[in-house]
Symmetry: C2
Subunit: 422 residues, 2 copies
Amino acid sequence: MHGEIIAIGDELVSGRTINTTSSFAARKLFDAGYSIRRITVIGDYIPVIVECINAAILRSKFLIITGGLGPTADDITNEAVSKALGLPLEENTRILEKISECEERHNITYDETFKRKLSMLPKGAEVLNPDGHAAGYLLMQDGIPLFFLPGVPNQLENHILNQVIPRLKQMLGIGKSVMQKTFKIFGLSEIEVNARLSRIESRYSGLSIGYYPNFPEVHVTVTLKGESSEETRNSCYEACSAIRDTLGLYVIAEDENTLEAVTGRLLVRNNAMVSVAESCTGGLLGQRLTDVAGSSAWFERGVTTYTNRSKEEILGVPHDMLVRHGAVSSEVATSMAEGIRRLSGTEYSLSITGIAGPDGGTPEKPVGTVFIGMATPEKTAALRFHFPGSREKVRITATETALDWLRRHLTDGSYIPGYKPA
Amino acid sequence: MHGEIIAIGDELVSGRTINTTSSFAARKLFDAGYSIRRITVIGDYIPVIVECINAAILRSKFLIITGGLGPTADDITNEAVSKALGLPLEENTRILEKISECEERHNITYDETFKRKLSMLPKGAEVLNPDGHAAGYLLMQDGIPLFFLPGVPNQLENHILNQVIPRLKQMLGIGKSVMQKTFKIFGLSEIEVNARLSRIESRYSGLSIGYYPNFPEVHVTVTLKGESSEETRNSCYEACSAIRDTLGLYVIAEDENTLEAVTGRLLVRNNAMVSVAESCTGGLLGQRLTDVAGSSAWFERGVTTYTNRSKEEILGVPHDMLVRHGAVSSEVATSMAEGIRRLSGTEYSLSITGIAGPDGGTPEKPVGTVFIGMATPEKTAALRFHFPGSREKVRITATETALDWLRRHLTDGSYIPGYKPA
């Protein structure tokens, strides 16, 4: 049950907008058992749109065409469809009514060109969501469903989940069963992960194992496609166990889980809360923790002490220590972690102080130098790291490492491999 | 000078990984005057790779093929290239040397299959960056350059900037001049922006104007392509002025600028600093402000007072107030803004308290209810909002609105249109 996606828009083909919508559609379809074999991204140019639609119809069981349905001059999908399939454009009264409602609500009057553009659809188009705002529609061509969907992310997402997948199930039957498992790994490079797993890969040849760097993590997926016998299903489970055994604590999360959600669950299991004190990461650590719904059960507070003064005033970092060792030091990281733990009364706390760049480095502490502190009911420790890359990468790696340290500590009391406190 | 990108990888076509690398390549090439007419995303499947490469060569002046160059079993680009172009695979000694170095550094031994996979390149391949880690290479076919690049984002980015663009300039000459201007708008929907700009669009027909929702902003681009006469250049400048005049303060930033960077510059111009007190946004506001390099000149500190206790202890929010009005209230937002301003000694401060969801809503304060406070040298005020969408969207819109309020205030003292403090 292979389909294709054609994504239309100058903003996509010029790289100004990242094509997240095609990825969303492909992922949801894959999970439902319908896979996408090709995604073609083209600009707002009728001859190319016509060519792509005609070529894709010959190869696919279904087609999803996104973008170019809007009211502006660069929206030309309907005209292109009309040419490609030889279907005249006809006025859709349902859409005209919607526009009138919209005019009233926003208190504006659209000109006639605008209205015509939105309401003239290719003959035979079935509007997918007549009560909604955007005019996605379905056209059948020689038994092949062609879904034309708005390119705006939330509108497209609604159409995929509530219209496309249910209709594909009706028309093409339920997709073939697909088993897929994702392992998220932090602390090993793609090459290192591959070297450790290569023997497992050769042992279970019926499966496909993929390796995907996903900064700062490496994701490994195990995929089992088609009608699965009990035997293949069992070897999928076995391969997953073997991967877990081989990578151990380097596996930070599986499937839709995240490092922050896993850390949160470990805190709940330990009946404990965490607080954070940040400097160079500016709130990113707290933000990641509170991305998790329900984090108020285990996240108490965070402070971003960006200046020395704030480190002294809020966290009680001694003035002398800041002068003698500098704000980016093991001593200050330790003091920050202890300060926020004392203030918040949480069992655990994390601190980050470093030089994210692009400026501010010295020969002893170049850009990328980061100290991470952790205070626990037993003791406080700080580790020194040097993270490569841009300001953004340093900040992301620093928060990932801090979370990973806490996760490892809550799991078996271990440190980040290769790092020991001074 | 049109080219194409072919991106290879099951992870892309299944939607597990978002294709950011093709967007990066397209954008950088566009800026250098070489535009991309088509991006084709396909899986790790040799017949389709062969077909796509052969079809694209016939249409394009240059080709960029990304992904599938790695050492794992799913990396099959070299084999596909060999089939598509009829070129045998030959051993590249330079790459073998690199692998030996890597083995020593990581203290692992790769098996022979692995080494062969990385080192066997199609005959005639010129390795682009022989001293680098990844083996991107160039093949010339009938005068058309085919760049094969690693799919890993930072490796691809290096290759595009340091290899592909300089070599295209040598081979195809400098790209035609392109003028493009982007306006970032917050507070108006795409339809509202379009309605306000439609008259400008029709006045300057030589330009193309595009509208792109980019949550929570709408981006408008004005593009002038090809050899530009002084006349067309002038009309581009005129159209941009007309857009600025029409949209006024709804334009939050232009081109590569961001709302947070613009706000930072306004603070510097006012010789002022800002501090923030967050609750439901968990550090996102501080993180956005400190994303800006050099933000230590105008960002003093931030606190994330996630619990009531931390609001009382750090910010001095009165216990009675929390009990009487609840943590999500105009009173508490005001008290949080005043508390952090007093603590930090900054001229300005922002506070956010709300219900990001998915749980925690009540009939009076449903999920999405957010109070934003701002304290200035003159006074403190709080505004009540209701932001639609997911937890993530509520958090993003809340921080965007807080930043926008400060930006407007620093520009002309105004509020968010349509909102007035109680």
